[in-house]
């Protein structure tokens, strides 16, 4: 299939960068939230299990 590049305008590039940053920040926040929530909900014993 024939493929070509779309040249993004400055406004489109800026918006794309800010969306990427937004998604990254949300993902980091979710990791922190689910990590802390898991310990909060299940208690610290979740960390002490037989190896």
């Amino acid at each position: 299939m024939e493929q070509e590049y779309v040249v993004l305008t400055e406004a489109q590039k800026k918006a794309q960068r800010s969306r990427s940053m937004g998604i990254a920040l949300v993902l980091v926040a979710l990791v922190v939230i689910f990590y802390v929530a898991t310990i909060t909900v299940f208690g610290p014993e979740i960390l002490s299990r037989p190896m």
Binding site: M1, E2, Q3, Y5, V6, T9, Q12, S18, T40
Partner: protein
């Protein structure tokens, strides 16, 4: 640069987004969300159980995101009329900054995510109530009632009234009379709040054919109905004291706030038919926001003081 198939970007609908995170945040209706956050928080922390602060934050966040998701679904469906109305013409889907399909996917993903998160980290009763609230707002209110009956915001107001019940259910795993009264306060508050707005924005609603009460029943009938609902909500606002959930101090504060609400509604009732500025309606709209925040703040403070006194006495 972005690599795409040529046949895709040659199509007339091809679009490279210029939407920013702020546009996506606007899809969540942040002002409505602030009310949801506050009332859900009050519903949760006034429940008679010990709560982990982190779990409160997570539950309120999940409820807020669920409410925001229903806002995004509302903007996806209503883009055609939002574009025409002055109050909503700047919304991201109406202006084209976000495509309708993007708003739809955003709303669906956030709905599913918020419900599952609340279910896993709080309980499934609160998650089911949140799912029902999203369905009620997006489908029952937005897709069905809004364009078909002047009772749209009366029945649809239930969606905005659910957050304290969800908050209480997230804390306790059950539903009781106390959150049902909080539900009733918001439910009965919604008609005077929205009809005050609809009075001075009736041209907007008329242009897009949304059958708001002033456009269907006329201004005089709407003003009477506003007064009737306001009188009832002023009484219902005192119920938390009557059933023993809150102290007499709350009862007095709620009564005074209710009197102010009724006084404001009375001015709207007495408004002249040819009043085009409608200052009393604008004042009632502003007061109604203050009333709801203040009455839930009074419940919150009252509950906090009762807990403190209980802890000191123990």
């Amino acid at each position: 640069m972005a690599l795409v198939d040529k046949h895709v970007f040659d199509e007339p609908g091809f679009h490279v987004s210029e939407a920013t995170p702020a546009d996506y945040f606007a899809l969540l209706k942040p002002r409505v969300m602030s009310l949801v956050i506050f009332t859900a928080f009050v519903g949760m922390v006034t429940a008679p159980v010990a709560l982990n602060p982190f779990q409160v934050v997570i539950a309120v966040l999940a409820i807020a995101v669920g409410a925001g998701a229903s806002g995004a679904l509302n903007m996806w469906y209503d883009a055609d009329i939002d574009r025409v109305m002055s109050r909503t013409a700047g919304r991201p889907v109406a202006t084209g900054r976000i495509q309708p399909g993007e708003a739809l996917v955003f709303g669906i993903v956030l709905s599913a995510f918020s419900v599952v998160t609340l279910g896993l980290l709080a309980n499934w009763l609160s998650a089911a109530l949140l799912a029902f609230t999203i369905f009620f707002y997006a489908v029952v209110y937005t897709m069905w009632l809004k364009r078909s009956t002047p009772q749209n915001i009366v029945i649809g107001g239930a969606a905005g009234a659910f957050p304290p019940i969800i908050g209480w259910a997230a804390a306790t795993g059950s539903v009781a009379i106390e959150p049902l009264i909080m539900f009733l306060i918001i439910f009965l508050w919604t008609p005077p709040h929205f009809w005050a707005l609809a009075l001075f924005k009736s041209d907007d609603y008329g242009r897009v054919g949304v059958p708001m009460m002033p456009n269907v029943a006329g201004h005089a009938s709407t003003r009477r109905q506003i007064f009737a609902y306001t009188a009832v909500v002023a009484l219902v606002g005192i119920l938390p004291w009557v059933i023993g959930q809150a102290s007499i101090v709350y009862g007095v504060v709620a009564a005074l706030l209710g009197l102010g609400f009724v006084r404001s509604a009375w001015k709207v009732l007495r408004m002249a038919d040819d009043d085009v500025v409608m200052r009393p309606a604008k004042a009632l709209f502003a007061y109604s926001l203050l009333y709801l925040f203040a009455i839930f703040a009074a419940l919150l403070v009252d509950s906090g003081v009762a807990r403190l006194v209980g802890a000191l006495g123990a």
